[in-house]
Point group: D3
């Protein structure tokens, strides 16, 4: 079973971290392939970045279809391009916010998200409402560390730990969801410090895709997520065609 | 990894069916143990049945804790005793309605539930609201076949298939959730007939528990789901004590 | 008119307090009978306790049906076994959280619940959503006094009063709901101190049952709450049969 | 205990019917006084009628305060003037839609409203959301009989019965709420025909007011429903002053 | 195009302020007519005031219909009489809370309301839920300045500015909605100080009515907002008849 | 005042139709500029099309900022790229679904959307929930005519009219929202036939942008919609930089 774990930004070191997180949990017989798109932003910290990350992501899904990928993980907490990817993939596609929030719902009364920049909190809130309803997400907290500065800075762990402890107390929550793929390597240490489940969406999404493929389940092709009608694309996007 | 799949009713043939469904999908190294409680109703078709199924179910969770079970599946679509089981288990506990509804949310716009008796639809609706918010569950439809009559009757498959096709059309849904553990063996044939994902909660829950255990995650023990305060139980329930 | 007020825990002194609260408000011609179950936990402070309180409670409802009870109060703020009791009773069954929250909705913009232990707040929140929608319950606050320590301790009143005053201020609420049957005797003194309506669910539920019986109304027997299908119960629960 | 049951329209024969319905259920020692305002519309079948019914209604509440009324019923299904009446009354004020919907929530999974004109359905829907949340009201159905034509027409009962039966089937509901004070006298016969609880809000509200007064509870005077600030009223409304 | 901007209270100086705010933004060819009702309260600070403001307001709408008004603004933040006015007007009717909240939804993630008295916050919250759903309104804050004291007091601006800054911080909002027509003249200065959009509902509603009239749109006359059925009004309200 | 009305697809004839609809309502002094992007899909009928329309749309917003545009209309009913466009534009940005739904909320109890293909209904439903809450959108109906076949086919009007009439009846709605920019020219004829308000989002959005600019209001730059952090874009999207 080939699972493509797509990092929607173009920073290869972050793809490596994501791939490692996915491989650490994938079952025997599962091949995890971390992917960096050929176009798009170096990191995703705005709606604008997110919008411009999607074409590169979709190109990687289309490539995965040609290569026989069984399923896909979208490894950015905004779950960019999720609906579009579902239309063009035969197998399941799971976003890391989606996976983490569904997992959190199985583990406690309510979760807090700890994320990078405050400006991304609106998007996280929208996703929480879509995935698990209004009540499960008790709060979203930003550490104000830019995505590409998470890596290799020893002060990140204590700052995120402190924010998460504050979130549990303030929100009355009992589970922590990590709000950025770049936080994947903090997960076990945070859990040990905080004494509550801490969820890395990359690992969670990988196992959800693995589970869905094992169950023989992929996105429903009835109506909304059916293969898109074929049509002409213009300009620098002319290469985007529906996968055959 | 030992996963206890508890059939909350006392009908052993149904436990066998459930266990087979779970084993068919569990990963290498996972031991699935189907369990029939020593007390309770022969099938669960009312709030009354459900309430009286819970003590026997909890006794099996307590036994599992003594035996080192890594996690639990509650294999009845009403997810009886889920919150209580989470308090006394160290590892994750997942109900089959919960697992099926979360999985359905990953696969389409909205799902329809096909279940046994109309009188159970209210409970299913409550669970859908709790797990995935107000919008994802598009309808709940009953075939009016009692739980214990699902097994071995060749007319069941066409009747459920017909009801599911009607549900997809009426509800504008794109995924089918099977609303009874006793329907587990219908899943693949229904999916082939209907052309949409059909979800058996037993298999889905087994893989969700497996995923959570692999991720090192169990129910949060912060506040609500912490081990219950020890106290005296009276009467025929005097044997119920908190697991140590 | 015979109203059975069932204390779902097995502590007889608490039944006495509950019975007194109910009798103090019941109309002429109403016989209030406080009942202590023959099995179950000494107090209810967890989902586990609540689940194991239900069989004993249902046995008392069944006994009430044989004795011609006109209606029932379930006198624990988690409203345990409410749906199941409604199936087997001919007359109305009202829980004290339910009664208190509906009454609160008639008296102000929004209420705060003051309850015993923090771990029970999730359940109270679920009930508030079910009964009166998302907006009416403005907050749930715990005094961290165990149920059985409420009785006879002179520090309880000032601690609960202080918590309630804090809740009114913090939540912007205008009504207080007492979150435990064991707080019934604090009601009038709290109201005098706080200057807002304070609702004891035991008294409120008693009068709601009385009102429904006077109106000739009981639980609808159309579909969900119809008498449960008869079936076999095994083990120590073999004595549970549907009331005839 | 004096309960003023205010018919917000100016049709005295309808006040008589309402008063009879309230008196039939009120407890010993309760004096029910039916009241017809001195100004306003002959019946209430639009937002416009409702708005113009409120001044007369409020005058009757003010008069009741001078006369020592213990509580008030607003006997029109739109619950006109409810918030304003709560500000000026010391005791509880309950609307008949409010009472009927809260009572319905105690008796089943979900109710259908059967009302007079289609144009009033929006208001009923707004009230249902406010009182008992989004899920309890399953549908609102109009018989298209104007309010003042309900009285004395023998075809009304069978038409309303037929509509209610249709509502139960279509909505999957299990309780019927009568959507007009003028239907109060149909209640018991409808219930007998339909085999489900049928709720007349006039009787239900009367007993809820009686219960609240017995409990010593009135509208909270903390902030929103405190006595309004005194001020000058001009024109034909110059007589409206805050009750002292 | 004649737009009637109705001040629902009877204080003429406030009408002047409102009219000026509307005229400052109205397009060429639009005649803005500020109107003070002949009856009702000097200011609106309670449900009681609001209820008694409606008859005078409706009389002004009826007069506008005779004069060929193209549309109406209801210039009080409680949007009194909005539904009733829509029934009797041929063209659009927009309330200032409604206009401000819809405009705010176009400009950011979520808005805070700054209003006069705390007791009016419940009404503002109800309107926010009705107009733009549960999530857009992040908080409602009162400066505790009575409506008629807003005018001509130089301390009002700094007090409201300080409250609004606090609201942005506390609520995590990004837009300010002014919660009283009497604050219209503070709008541009507040926006300059706060650095976020500040919305005066009077100006916003005027342009929304102008837009709707330009689009040829008025209130739907299908069912709920159709012209009310004609009927007799009694007492001092006998002059209220449906506009022909 | 320059308003850029961006057709997010690359079909110039559709841009002409859209521009005409906007110009027909814009006020004196407003310059409406219809824009066709240099890249992207010929029409938007899937999430995939929508995602790939966004880069071209954002390029046109960036160009508009250089040209001094006062505001923008996004003229596709999925409101693609709305959040991203708000980040990079100084003035207001309004989508046509957003404008139409807000306008509909001012005109009646609830609206029905009539749109092109069934597969787009999920997106429309998501937008309705975001913009005006759960209750205002009563239904979404598809005529199954592809976007580019709307133009010039005389059977389109009667088919859409018939669908809209069905929607009003089935949904109990009172306003029609046209669910595609390509339906703009049907608006007045449909309104005449149906007797209810019919809303073309292009015209509505144009006037909302005009209104917001007149009010001096643009997207809040506090936090979420602030100018995005500058960063490197790779591959064929390397030309996308934040507007300075």
């Amino acid at each position: 079973m080939l699972i493509r774990v797509i990092n929607p930004n173009t920073t290869a070191s972050m793809t490596s971290l994501i791939e490692a997180s996915a491989r650490a949990v994938a079952g025997p017989g599962v091949v995890v392939e971390g992917v960096t798109p050929a176009m798009g932003p170096a990191s995703i910290e705005s709606h604008y970045d997110e919008a411009l990350a999607v074409p590169g992501l979709l190109a990687e899904v289309a490539a995965g279809e040609r290569d026989g990928a069984a399923g896909y993980v979208i490894a950015c907490f905004g779950d960019p391009g999720l609906d579009a990817a579902r239309e063009i993939a035969a197998g399941p596609v799971v976003g890391i916010a989606e996976a983490a929030m569904h997992a959190a719902a199985l583990l406690g009364r309510g979760f807090s998200v700890v994320t990078t920049l405050s400006r991304t909190r609106g998007r996280a809130s929208d996703l929480a409402h879509r995935y698990v309803g209004a009540g499960a997400c008790k709060g979203i907290h930003a550490c104000e560390i830019p995505v590409l500065e998470l890596e290799g800075d020893p002060t990140v762990l204590p700052r995120v730990a402190s924010l998460a402890a504050h979130a549990l107390e303030t929100d009355g929550s009992d589970v922590i969801v990590l709000g950025c793929a770049g936080m994947a390597d903090l997960c076990s240490e945070l859990s040990a410090r905080l004494g509550v489940p801490v969820i890395d969406g990359v690992a969670a999404a990988t196992l959800m895709v693995q589970a869905l493929v094992t169950l023989g389940l992929g996105t429903s092709k009835r109506e909304e997520y059916a293969k898109p009608p074929a049509k002409r694309y213009s300009g620098i996007l002319h290469g985007f065609m529906q996968p055959g």
